[in-house]
């Protein structure tokens, strides 16, 4: 019985810990902080919450229909350094890469994507060397 209680105690602690880690990520606030950082000339479309649950979740994914002849701007905000190891990668509907903020070993806080092909695109956030696994992102557009 003692062993069972010990195991249950450990599991409960782990669950509570995971909830706490989750609670520490205020992705909504980080996304809102990102709104004023939208590049000049771009019109706000939507925010994305990026909550990696303290590292428990390796990928956060959204999708959106992008239109040809439209430029899109996507920025990333994190609590600590500008991107805190958050990589955003955009894929087309066939999962072929069309854009990323991580190029030649460098993280960029924003990407400008001039879309040439209308379709459904996947916006995928992953983490590399992230401290908090937590961030926000804003999508804007201009003609």
């Amino acid at each position: 019985m003692k062993n069972i209680m010990k195991i249950l105690g450990l599991i409960t602690a782990a669950v509570i810990f995971s909830f706490n880690v989750n609670a520490q990520c205020n992705a909504e606030a980080l996304a809102q902080n990102c709104v004023p950082k939208l590049q000049d000339g771009f019109t706000f479309l939507k925010t994305f919450k990026v909550d990696g649950l303290g590292g428990a979740k390796s990928k956060v994914e959204y999708s959106y229909v992008f239109s040809k002849d439209t430029q899109y701007f996507l920025n990333i905000c994190a609590a600590s350094d500008p991107t805190d190891g958050i990589i955003v990668t955009m894929y087309d509907s066939k999962r072929q890469i069309v854009s990323t903020n991580f190029n030649n070993g460098k993280f960029y806080p924003g990407i400008v994507y001039p879309c040439n092909a209308t379709g459904i695109y996947y916006i995928t956030f992953t983490f590399q060397g992230s401290t908090n696994y937590c961030g926000g992102s804003v999508l804007g557009f201009k003609r």
Partner: protein
Amino acid sequence: MKKFIFILTATVLFACNSGKKSDEQAYLESLDTLELDQPVISEEVISDIIQQIPSPLEVSFLLKSAGSKYSVDMLNDPDNISNYNSSFEKALNLGIYGTDLGYANIYEQNQDALFYLNSITSLAEDLSIGQFFDFGTIKRLATNSDNLDSLLLITTQNFNNINEYLQDNQRQNLSVLILTGGWLEALHIVCEVVNNNPDNKELVEKIGEQKIILDNIKLLLGFYKNDPYIADLHKNILKLEEAFAEIEIIYTYAEPTFKEVNGMLVIEDNSTTTINITPENVVTIRNQVNEIRDKIIS
């Protein structure tokens, strides 16, 4: 003690089991269940499809950049609000007025924008989502053309917040109707503009592109077709799908190239789409859109 251990174990197991499936997996599973009488579609899947639908603002910006003049006659009359009694009608027309508001804002037609804002606020209150419209702030911003960016930001955020709230409160059906209304109105406006400028290739292609969004709208409405109101709308959307059937969207992928500009990564998209749409297709689509829209706004 045994009871305590059981409850604790059940809680822990539930907590461990409540992790989300990958979107793709959930989506594929949902497609398999579409033909059942009572499709079991997770809220997560519905939310994923909803959030793909682009903002009608993109269409209004396109019209303005293409040199199309503002025309209030194409829009729904804000006074029609008295015709809308059911939640179904209110949600659809809230979406329609939302697109009209965005269109009027982009063309800086402040007085018209305020009329639409009044109608939107009233419909939103009737649907118990009035708290998301900051009427005072929007009205203040709408009276000064210098505030266009802030105005578009706030109105877009208000609609995004409404959608999020409805999805969080198991009222996705209303969210779907608002988005359907908004999308249909944007398509209607482009069709009307093209009717007067049939040679504008960019706008004609914009109509053809809507085939992609139509697929999503059809899918979303299909989830709720047990509701008789939505079933009727779904049938009409299937007719519209027939009007789009001949349109081809040919996608060609080419690897992108990257360059750094002012600290931002600028991508050169080398992929392309070709949209094959004939003037006859445009006429058929326009007629079908008008038929559906007339039923909704009257």
